[in-house]
Every structure is written in structure tokens, then in C-alpha cells.
Amino acid sequence: MTTTLLTLLANDELVPKWANWNMFPESNSTFGPAVDGAFNFIMWVCIFFFVLVCGLMVYFMVVYRRRTPNDKMMSSPTHNTPLEIFWTVVPSFLLVIMFARGFAGFVDMRTPPADCYDIKVIAKKWSWTFQYPDGTSTNELHVPVDTNVRLTMRSDDVLHSLYIPTMRVKMDVVPGRYTYLWFKALKPGQQHLFCTEYCGREHSMMITKCVVHPTQPDPNGNEDALLNMDFPQWLVYASDITRNKNFMTDGKFDPVKAGAELYKTKGCSACHSLTDQRIANGGPPWLPLSHALKTGEEIQLQDGSVKADDNYVRESILAPNAKRRTGYGNMPSYQGQMKDPEIDAIIAFIKSLDK
């Protein structure tokens, strides 16, 4: 009997349409039913108690209003232990249901499935960077529809928080550790993505979009051509850094700007400094290299020497250990991880260092 009652209370299928009072924007993720159902359930509990309390309050105000300053006192109890125990215990059952529903959905939210599409999120004052497995990075979040997506998030500076209302997900982005988030979008389209942890002046400008791409390209779907691409199509499009809005100066692709960003995102910065100081156990600093590229001077290798030019840099990126400089160790190859425009951008960036 209790079980039946609980099922009824917890089964949102049985809730008629008129009784759906959830105020969230329309859900677009698999979490929708759990969140909205719990919300609606609590809403009705609240409406019940609100009407009860305020209804009685107004009723008493009217019926028992004071007529004279010395109204005859009506007899009434000053306490009633069974009644008080009743209204202490009975609402507790409702609270247990609320907790249970919240708990069940929450565990689901915090347990990413095994087959997730992984996207890295880097938050910093005041922008989002989303990195896809192929190395592409964007400032808007793009995800395929009907796919489990996991975001692995970190912050470069202060606390941020990633919030997509339609997906019903939110998670703080904390410096010094990774936080995770997953969801599965149900419909293609674009929605808001907010930063909800206060992070300074432009906190309210950290609004961007979460775009869900359809499984099939859909040429007639939307005015925005981007939204009509399927996800792989979009990824190819987005991986072209020359189209990246972040790397534009006056509407044109700026390779130096792109190179500066790639220097950080591709991991160059871990070993190569931009000054003439070598990072401990790191690779050659870039300022002298920049100078060498300008003047075209010879660079000392462990066996022989080579003229500093674009080809030398390109080879050092793709096959770093073919020509090793005196006093330096190994570097991993970036073959297959960097496309030509990116290598061009890095070279342009290095050249720009020596002013």
C-alpha cells in the first residue's frame, strides 16, 4: 500500500497536463524528467501548505477579528500534544520523498556513463574555451545530439561555474582541480550557457551558447548554416583556425594572435619560455630563436649546425628529434596533432617575439 502511494507520488507519468507547474525552460536533456518531476512534486506540496497556512490565516483574521478591546475569551487549548506530534511527523514523510527523488536524480547526474564524448573546458576571466578531442577549440560549446557528453573543466584563475539551463546541469569550475559534468542532449538547437559563480567585472559577459548539432546535416533546418551541420561536419569547419573569431584582428585572420593562443593550448609553454631564460629542464627559449629566425644565424646541433628558418621550426615541431640542439633533451612530436595553419601561426608568433 505504501509502495503504491510512493509510486504514485514519484511517477510523473501520472501527472495530468494541467498539473504540470514546473517553471523551467523546456528541457533538452535526459535529466529533464527527473528535475522537472521533482520540481513539480515539490511545487504541489508547497501549494498545498501555502494554501493551508495562508487560507487558515485569512480565515482566522476574519472570523476571530477583535470586536471590542475586552472580547470575551473563547476557550481553546494552549497545547495539544497528539496534534503537535501529528504535524511534526506527517510532513516528514513528504520530506523523505523529496530527498529520495533528489538523491536518485543527483546520482545519475554525477555518474557519467562509460561511453562519453569528452570535451575539455577551460574557464578564465572572462571567457570559456572548449577543447575537442581533435584539438579544435572554440568559445561556444558544440555537442552532438543524442550523445553522452562529458565536460572536464578547469579554471585558470578564480572560481567559475558552468550552467546550461535547458540541460539542467551546473558545476563549479575550480582552480587547482578538475570538475566534471555530463549530459545528453535530446534535440538540435542552441541554448544559453552561463557562468554562475561570481568571477569579477565581466562575470555577466561570460554568457555563451551551447549548440546541439543534429545527427544528419539538415540544410532546411535553420537560418544559421552552422546549426544545420552535423557534428563531424561542424568540427571540420571549426578546426580551421583561420575562421576562428578569437584570432581575428579587424575581421581578418591574425596568425600571431592564433600562435599566442596555441603556444598555451598546445602545451609549448610548459617547456619553452618567451624570454631568454630557459625553463628548468625545458627546451630552447623562444626569444633567442626569434632573433635567430630574423637574422638567419646558424644553430648549434649535437651533430653540426643548421640555418634558422621556417623549415627548421616546422621540422622541430613535427620531428623534433631529427635535429637536436646542444644541451637539450627530447621533445614529443606534434605530427598529426597540429595542422599546417597552426604551424604557420606558431612560426608567425615566434617571429613576432623579437621586436
Binding site: 508547497c46 475569551m73 495539544n80 520530506l95 547526474m109 550552467y163
Partner: protein, 565 residues
């Protein structure tokens, strides 16, 4: 005044000789008689003026914020200013207004008289508490003048350790205010334990005193943790301590744990005294013995203790482990029960009463309405899966304003109107008092109800800029804020008018049975000119209206006619 007292409940047999001594306001005069006073009533009055000034300041900040939010993007101020405004609005309202308001102002004035004692246990410490408040306020103003403060009142690291604003001045101010709060709480606990009048047993203590007592427990137990947290934050900024700094292997989330370990119980520091006031008001203006005295008293203490176990519900999306979130969610629901019990008891008190809609009662009823909404919306936030989308949105903003402002502020106003005749010896204009309560009530709902919808639709808090689809609700909210401001201004005008033109207050204009209404209005320096004796503080049926003094008198004959229990 001499004719006011013919019988007092304390001395059933012997009438008190006509009073000739001056009341506490006239016993001495001059600046130093106030600045160095040890009288709890004068300290209470000074607190009252102080917290009202702080409230006015915080209120102006709030109006600036609401005006800015009329349109998306810039309206009247820059983003930097907006961030400073909401930070200072929060910090001033929380640290300078809500926390000290009821205990510092009304509690100081009323509690010793309710207990039938001459003063609090440590009058010097009481005065020190007030001056620490002043000191803290000075530091806040200093922060405002020397670079401002833009961290949010929560001072979350690492933003607070890296921003260029005056975080150290402000946190040091909050640190000092913490000691002010501890001193107040410590004083009340000791006073309640050791200073009660003869016959004032634990269950004859008025519920307001129970609430203040429960509050004091939190003040003493929680505030030191805030103190050390703020010291660590100061050290983090000034010396590079490293404990909260991820670059030094520290953990910024640890700061949140520390902060909420204090600041969640602090929510009960803010709301419990308000609940105490409501218990007094509902009972007095319904002319009914409070229903379920012990349940209310114990629920206050229960809330105070449970309040220590739920801080993690502020951090469901902070990156704390899911297991912790689950535990904190479960504990959070346990807090809902004592609050609900109180609401039911207040309703039952009204049942079959003789309900007067005097100004304090209007505020008390507004409290009941608003607090019910505030409390119930807490259920959404305690439920894990629903909190995830609602956390850090306007839903939370609306929720805590319904509890803190709709709850504490409204109760505070009700309390001021209730005890005003006792504090000043003057009556106020009843009609305009009622008008103020209605306008405040309407303005409040217009301001904050749309924010529930905003938050559920996804509007994050602390946003200077927002997406255009939220504008209409923001406009409603802003208009509401102005209505609210108008209502509060009327309330203030009513009080100021009463000081100048108010007619003389009788000793007991409301027919209340607690001890402070049995002494003169205003009371003498040592509170009573007879030896008070503790008795049932809610024996309202023993009070009899006497048209000749336009107030109530204790009629021992009526005690025998007690309504059936």
C-alpha cells in the same frame, strides 16, 4: 504617570507607591550619558539607530542595483560599480544590519526586562559590543572609501585573494563585527542563566527570550569559526598563507566549507529572533495563550543546533564529493520540520482568538505569509537534483530575501512598532502604521516574487548584464523595489512623527502579559519600581482593558476565570 500603576502582577498584595523617579531616558542627559552608558536600554536604542542607519545605506545600494537592472547592459552604473554595490549591499545588510538588528536593538532593550532583571550580566561587555559594531562599521566604510569591495559578501577565494579592492579592510571589519556578535550572545546566555527574576523558571521565559537564547548559542559557537576564517583570508592576502591557494597546494573549496560553517548557522542568527518576535506578536494581538509553548521553545533550540549540520547545502555544485552533498541534503530536510512546527503553532494560536489588526500584527501576518513562501521554496533548494539548476540563480536570491527580508526585516519592523511605546513612551499613528505594512507587503512581493520565476528560467545571480528575454520580470522587480522603498519610508515617517507628536503611551497599550508591559513606559533606569516576579508570560486573559488610560491592566480576578485548557 503616577496613576498608571495601581496593581502590578509582581506584587499581588502590595500596591506600588506612585512613581516619582525619572524614566531611563530622563535619568541623565548629555552626550557622555549615552556614549558611556551601561544601561541595556540605552545601548539597545543606540543599536537601533545604528542598525537602521546601516539598513538605510544597504537599502540605497539595493535601489541602485534594481535601477541598474531595469535594462540589460549598462543602465546607470558601470559593471565595476555594480559589483561593488551588490557586494556592499550584501555585506552591509548581513553583517551590519540583520545579524545585530534584533538581538542588538530589541533584544538588548527587552530581554532583561522580560526576565525581570536590572541589566544584562555584563553591562560593560554590552557597551563594548556596541562599540565593536561601530568599529566594524567604520572598517566597512573605510573599505568603501578606499577602493571598495567587489568580492560578494561571501568573500570566496581565490577571487577575494586576488582582486584589487579593499578586501582586508572589509574582512577585518567583519572580523570585529564577529566579536560584537559573540559578546552580545555570550551576555544573553549568561543573563538568561543567572539573572532571572524570582519565579522566572525556564518555562516562564517568554518565547522571544528563548529565541534570543537559541540565537546566542549560535553566535557563541559559530562566530569564532568565521573569525578564524576571515583571519586566514586576511593572512592569505597579506602574507600568502597558502591554505586556500590552489597554486600552493591549498584548496579554495575549503574556504567555502569554513565560510558556510558559520554562515549557515548565521542564517538562524538572523531568523530565530524574528520567530521569537512573531511568537510574542501573534499571541498578544490574538489575545490568546501561545499554542504549544514548549514545542516552539524547543524548536528554536533545535533549529539552532541542526543549523550547524547543514552548511554543505550551499555547495552542492561546488565540487564537493557527491556523497557529502547527499548527506547534507538529507540533513537539510531535518531543518524544515522545526520551522514548520512554529508556523502551525502560530496558526493554532490565532484559532479562536480575538485578533486585532494593529500595526505590529499586520507585520506579523505579513511575516507569516512571506516566511511560508520563503520556507517552502527552501524545499526546492534542499532537493539535490532541483538545486543543481537553481543554485546561484535568482531563485536563491528570491528565497533568501523571502526569509531574511520577508522574515527578519518584517518581524523587526513588527517588533519596533510593538515595543515602540515602551521604548519611547509615545504612541504612533495607527492608520499610517497599517498603511506602511500593506505597502511594504505588496512592494515586497512585487520585488521578489518575479525573481523566483527569473531564477527558474535560468537567470544567474550577480549579473550586471542579462539576456533580453528576462527584462520584463526585471522591470516588475525594480518597480516593486521602489514600492517597497516607499512603504519603508512611510514606516520611518510614522515613527519619527510619533516622537514629535505622538500621544503619551500607557504602560500596557496592547494587553500583553510579559513583564516589560507591567512596568512604566518608558521604564525607569533599573527597569522596575517594584520587585518583579516571573509568571506565565502568555496569561493574556488576565489583562483587562481600561478606557480611562487607553491601555490594559492586570486584573488578578480574571486569573480565576482562565479559559479551559
Amino acid at each position: 504617570m503616577a496613576t498608571d500603576i495601581s496593581t502590578t502582577p509582581g506584587s499581588h498584595t502590595q500596591p506600588v507607591p506612585p512613581q516619582t523617579e525619572p524614566d531611563y531616558l530622563h535619568v541623565s542627559s548629555g552626550f557622555s550619558s549615552w556614549a558611556f552608558t551601561l544601561d541595556h536600554k540605552r545601548i539597545g536604542i543606540m543599536y537601533l539607530i545604528g542598525v537602521m542607519a546601516a539598513f538605510a545605506l544597504g537599502g540605497v545600494f539595493a535601489l541602485i542595483l534594481r535601477t541598474e537592472l531595469l535594462t540589460p547592459g549598462p543602465t546607470i552604473i558601470s559593471a565595476d560599480w555594480y559589483n561593488q554595490m551588490f557586494t556592499l549591499h550584501g555585506a552591509v545588510m548581513v553583517f551590519l544590519f540583520i545579524i545585530p538588528s534584533i538581538p542588538g536593538a530589541l533584544g538588548n532593550f527587552v530581554v532583561p526586562i522580560m526576565l525581570g532583571t536590572k541589566d544584562v550580566a555584563f553591562p560593560q561587555m554590552n557597551l563594548a559590543s556596541f562599540y565593536l559594531w561601530v568599529g566594524g562599521a567604520i572598517f566597512f566604510v573605510a573599505a568603501l572609501l578606499t577602493g571598495g569591495l567587489d568580492t560578494g559578501w561571501t568573500f570566496y577565494t581565490p577571487y577575494s585573494t586576488t582582486t584589487s579592492t579593499s578586501v582586508i579592510a572589509a574582512t577585518f571589519g567583519a572580523f570585529i563585527l564577529g566579536f560584537s556578535s559573540i559578546f552580545t550572545g555570550l551576555n544573553f546566555i549568561v543573563t538568561v542563566h543567572t539573572m532571572r527574576a524570582p519565579g522566572m523558571s525556564w518555562f516562564r521565559i517568554p518565547l522571544f527570550v528563548w529565541a534570543i537564547y537559541a540565537t546566542a548559542i549560535i553566535q557563541v559557537l559559530a562566530t569564532p569559526v568565521l573569525g578564524i576564517t576571515l583571519l586566514m583570508l586576511i593572512a592569505e592576502r597579506a602574507l600568502g598563507l597558502g591554505i586556500f591557494d590552489p597554486k600552493m597546494g591549498g584548496d579554495p573549496v575549503l574556504f567555502q566549507h569554513f565560510f558556510w560553517f558559520y554562515s549557515h548557522p548565521a542564517v538562524y542568527i538572523m531568523i530565530l529572533p524574528a520567530m521569537g518576535i512573531i511568537s510574542e506578536l501573534i499571541s498578544t494581538y490574538s489575545r490568546r495563550h501561545i499554542f504549544g509553548y514548549r514545542f516552539i521553545a524547543f524548536s528554536s533550540v533545535g533549529l539552532a543546533l541542526l543549523g550547524f549540520l547543514v552548511w554543505g547545502h550551499h555547495m552542492f555544485t561546488s565540487g564537493q564529493s557527491p556523497a557529502m552533498s547527499v548527506i547534507f541534503s538529507a540533513l537539510t530536510f531535518s531543518v524544515a520540520i522545526p520551522s514548520a512546527v512554529k508556523v502551525f503553532n502560530w496558526l493554532a494560536t490565532m484559532y479562536r482568538g480575538s485578533i486585532s489588526l494593529a500595526t505590529p500584527m499586520c507585520y506579523a501576518l505579513a511575516f507569516l505569509f512571506l516566511f511560508t513562501i520563503g520556507g517552502l521554496t527552501g524545499l526546492f533548494l534542499g532537493t539535490l537534483v532541483v538545486d543543481v539548476p537553481l543554485h546561484d540563480t535568482y531563485f536563491v536570491v528570491a528565497h533568501f530575501h523571502y526569509v531574511m527580508m520577508g522574515g527578519t526585516l518584517i518581524a523587526f519592523l513588527g517588533g519596533i512598532f510593538h515595543w515602540w511605546p515602551k521604548m519611547t513612551g509615545k504612541m504612533y499613528n495607527e492608520f499610517w502604521g497599517q498603511v506602511s505594512s500593506v505597502i511594504v507587503f505588496l512592494g515586497f512581493n512585487l520585488t521578489f516574487f518575479p525573481q523566483f520565476i527569473l531564477g527558474t528560467r535560468g537567470m544567474p545571480r550577480r549579473y550586471y548584464n542579462y539576456v533580453p528575454e528576462f527584462q520584463s520580470l526585471h522591470v516588475m522587480s525594480t518597480v516593486g523595489a521602489y514600492v517597497l522603498g516607499l512603504g519603508l519610508t512611510i514606516a520611518l515617517a510614522v515613527l519619527i512623527h510619533s516622537l514629535m507628536r505622538g500621544k503619551k503611551a500607557p504602560n500596557n497599550p496592547w494587553g500583553a502579559a510579559t513583564l516589560e508591559w507591567q512596568t512604566t513606559s518608558p521604564p525607569p533606569l533599573y527597569n522596575f519600581n517594584y520587585e518583579p516576579v516571573g509568571r506565565d508570560p502568555y496569561a493574556l486573559h488576565e489583562m483587562e482593558y481600561d478606557a480611562s488610560i487607553d491601555g490594559y491592566k492586570h486584573n488578578p480576578e480574571l486569573a480565576k476565570l482562565a479559559p479551559a485548557h
